[in-house]
Symmetry: C2
DNA sequence: ACACATTTGTACTCCGTGCGAACAAAAGAA
DNA sequence: TTCTTTTGTTCGCACGGAGTACAAATGTGT
C-alpha cells in the first residue's frame, strides 16, 4: 500500500560532487583558457590532486586537450589546458528573411560564419538551411559536432522545444527541431533571441554568473530575457519575458497581440519607422536601417522619430528596472549602432523619478556574435555531457 | 538541471550529498509528518539504509523525534517520525500600528499568537515588542527557540538584513535586527511581506516548490514577491518585486516615490478609500476596513470605489502575468475578505486581451497565518541546518 | 658543477557518503 | 508452528574529495 505518490525529489548520490566539480572545472577552462591544473586548483579551491583526476576524465572524454607548456620564474613548468578545438557546434541565428549559420568551438570562438538568404515558403526555407548546414558539416570533417543551437524571434517551450509564439516567422517552426534533427543527425536546442543573448552575456561576458541581468532585444518587436538567481527565468511553459506586450500607453495604437499601447508598438523598430512615416507623410515606408542612416546624417525628421522611439524604450526599461531591479540591463538590436546619439535619451527616461539606484544600462558589445555564441550555451547547457 | 550553468554553490565536497539529502529528508518530514523511514525511502528514492543514517543524525540533533507506531495489514509496524515539537520559532508580523507575535513549531503550526499594540516612538515601539517576546520566551521555557522571523512592510537587503525602503514604518528599523538579536539572544531574519507570503506558499502550500508564483500584497501600498526557479527573486540588493511602483496610469496622481500613476497609487487600499471619499465628498476619510464593511452591505458608493480598485488591481496583475508568466498569482491583503464580490473583476481585467493562457489567480487562503508561518521559512531557509 | 628552493603534477591513504544485499525484527496468515 | 510481508539495521563495496608525500622540472646561489 502506497500512501505517498512517487514524486521523486532531487536527491544526491556519492557521484554528485564529481558532477558538480567537473562542471565547475570545465567552465573555468572554457572561460579562462589556457590555464594550468595548479591555477585551476587556486581558482576553484579544490585540491590539485582532485583537479588532476577531473582533468584526466575531461581529456579522456575529449572535452579538453593539453596545450603548450608555460614558463615561470622558478619551478616546474605548468601544462596549459585548453578546450578541444576539434569539438564544435553549429550556431543558427534565424531572422525572417535571412539566417546566419556559424561553426563555433566549445569556448564560443566563431570558426566560420555565413549568411543564407531564406526563400519564402515553409519547405524551401527549411531545405535551404539544412543544405547549408550539410555543406558546413562536409567542409569540416575534421571537427566533431555536439549539436545545433538556434536563436530565433519567438518563444519556445523549453522542455518540449516547440515554438509557441513566433509572429514574425511564417514557416513551420513548430516541427523545426525534429525535422532538423532527422536531417542532420545532431541534437537541436533552440531559444528566444533575448534569452539567447542573456545566456551569451553570462557565459561569455566575463561575469561571475551570479548577478541578475535583463536583455532587451529591440527589433520588429521587443523581447526580453531575464537572468536571475543563476538561471534564465522562463515562467510557465517558457513565456516569461514578454515585457514587449506590457501596456505602456493605455490609449496607444493596437497591437497584433490583441491589446493596445503595448511597449513594442511604441518602441520597436517598426514604431520608429511609423513615426518617421507620419512626419514625412510618405505612403512608402522606409526600412529601419535606412532610418538609422538618415538619423546618423542628421536628418531632422529621422532624429525626431528615433528620439520618440528612444523615449518610449526608456519608459519600458524603467518599468523593468522598477519591477525586477537587475544589476544590468543590456540592449540588443540595430538601435545599438546609434547608441551614442540616442542612448542618453533612453537612459534619462529609465532614470526618470527613480527612487532607488537604477541598474546599469548599456548596449550589447556585439549582438550578432552574442546570438551565435549563445548556441554553445544552449547545446551544452542542459545535459550535454550526458550520463556516463 | 543545467549541467554547465554557473552554480551558486562553488565547489562540492564528499559531504555535499549528505547536506543535500539531509535537507530533502527534513523537508519531507516537515511537510508530510507523520511519516515512516520506509515511506521516506519510497518518496525520495533514497535507499532505506541511507534514510536510517540521516534520520539518526536528525534525531540526535533534535530536529525530529520518533512518534507513534503505525499499523499495516502485514509486516513489521513502521515507526512514525515527526518534527520535534519542542523546537520553536518566534514569528513577527509587523504592521505600522500593531504587531502580531506568535510561537510556531518547525512545521509552521502556530502554538500561541497575540497582538501587541505598538506605541508611537522609536524606542517605545521596539521595547514593547521585545518585552512581549521576552514574556513569550519565559512562558515557554520547555521550548527551545531557533530564531525570530519577521515579516514587515518594506524591503530588506537580504545579505545585510538591513531595511532599505519602508515608507510606512516610522521607527528605526534599520537597526531592528541587531537590537533585537542583542535583546533576545536569538538569530533574527526578516523580509518583505510579499516575499514572506511567497515563501509561505512554497513551504506550506503543498506545492512541489518547483513552479513559479507571484504574491501580490495589497495593503496601504502594493508589494510583490516573485518565486521563480525554486528561489525568491530578489534583484540587486533585494529591491526586486517593486511592481507597486510601476506606472499604470501615465497621467495618474503623484506617488510618494516621486513618480506618478504608480500601480499602488491607483489600486491600493488607500486608493479605494480615496475613491470613496471623492464619491461621498466627505472630508473625513474612513478606514479601509469600514469601506469593506460598507461594500459588503451593498453600499453603492463603496461598491463603486471597490470596483475601481479591483479594475486597477487587475490591470497591474495583467502586467505581471504578461511579463513573468507565472503559474499562479496569489493575492494577499484585506481585499481577499471580499474576493467573492470583486475577485471576478480583478480576474477579468487580468485576462483582458490575453494572448496566452493567463495564470491562475486566487486569494491567499489565510494571509495572517501565511505571514506568521513565513517566519519558519525565513529562519530555517538559508543555511540554518546546513553547516555544523 | 652541485646543492637547494620552488613549483607542478601524481600517487596513496583516509574518511565521508550512498548503494545494494543480507539480516534481524515484528506482525499477520495459513 | 511455519510462511509471508514489511520495517529498519548492518555490512561490504565503490566513489570522491582532502591532505600528505613524492617525483619531476627548473631556476638560483655558492
Amino acid at each position: 500500500m502506497q500512501r505517498f505518490s512517487f514524486n521523486r525529489t532531487q536527491t544526491a548520490s556519492n557521484k554528485t560532487p564529481r558532477r558538480i566539480n567537473r562542471n565547475l572545472i570545465f567552465n573555468l577552462i572554457r572561460t579562462k583558457q589556457p590555464i594550468s591544473r595548479a591555477d585551476l586548483s587556486r581558482v576553484s579551491g579544490l585540491q590539485r590532486s582532485t583537479i588532476s583526476l577531473i582533468v584526466e576524465d575531461l581529456i579522456e572524454e575529449g572535452w579538453i586537450v593539453e596545450g603548450a607548456v608555460g614558463h615561470l620564474p622558478r619551478g616546474r613548468r605548468p601544462t596549459f589546458l585548453e578546450i578541444n578545438s576539434k569539438r564544435a557546434i553549429i550556431a543558427l541565428d534565424i531572422h525572417p528573411a535571412q539566417t546566419t549559420i556559424a561553426v563555433t568551438d566549445l569556448a564560443g570562438k566563431i570558426v566560420t560564419q555565413q549568411v543564407v538568404m531564406v526563400p519564402d515558403g515553409a519547405t524551401k526555407a527549411l531545405n535551404a538551411i539544412v543544405n547549408a548546414i550539410r555543406k558546413l558539416l562536409a567542409a569540416h570533417e575534421d571537427l566533431s559536432f555536439d549539436g545545433i543551437g538556434i536563436s530565433l524571434p519567438g518563444r519556445a517551450d523549453v522542455h518540449l522545444q516547440k515554438l509557441i509564439f513566433a509572429p514574425n516567422l511564417n514557416w513551420p517552426v513548430l516541427s523545426l527541431k525534429s525535422k532538423m534533427e532527422r536531417a542532420t543527425g545532431l541534437r537541436v536546442k533552440m531559444d528566444n533571441v533575448a534569452n539567447a543573448c542573456a545566456l551569451s552575456e553570462v557565459w561569455f561576458g566575463g561575469s561571475d554568473g551570479l548577478h541578475d541581468l535583463v536583455v532587451v532585444n529591440v527589433a520588429e518587436g521587443i523581447g526580453t530575457g531575464i537572468f536571475a538567481n543563476g538561471q534564465l527565468l522562463r515562467g510557465e511553459s517558457g513565456l516569461a519575458g514578454e515585457f514587449g506586450h506590457v501596456q505602456i500607453a493605455p490609449d496607444g495604437p493596437p497591437c497584433a497581440c490583441g491589446s493596445q499601447g503595448c511597449w513594442e508598438v511604441v518602441a520597436s523598430n517598426r514604431a520608429a519607422v511609423g513615426y518617421y512615416g507620419e512626419l514625412v507623410k510618405s505612403a512608402v515606408p522606409i526600412t529601419f536601417e535606412a532610418l538609422l542612416k538618415l538619423a546618423q546624417s542628421g536628418d531632422a525628421f529621422a532624429v525626431q522619430a528615433m528620439t520618440k522611439m528612444a523615449e518610449n524604450l526608456g519608459r519600458g526599461i524603467r518599468l523593468i528596472a522598477v519591477a525586477l531591479a537587475p544589476k544590468e540591463i543590456v540592449v540588443v538590436g540595430d538601435i545599438t549602432t546609434v547608441w551614442h546619439q540616442f542612448g542618453s535619451i533612453v537612459e534619462a527616461h529609465m532614470k526618470k523619478n527613480a527612487f532607488t539606484k537604477p541598474p546599469l544600462l548599456r548596449p550589447a558589445y556585439d549582438g550578432n556574435t552574442a546570438r551565435l555564441r549563445s548556441a554553445v550555451a544552449l547545446v551544452l547547457g542542459d545535459d550535454a555531457m550526458g550520463e556516463k
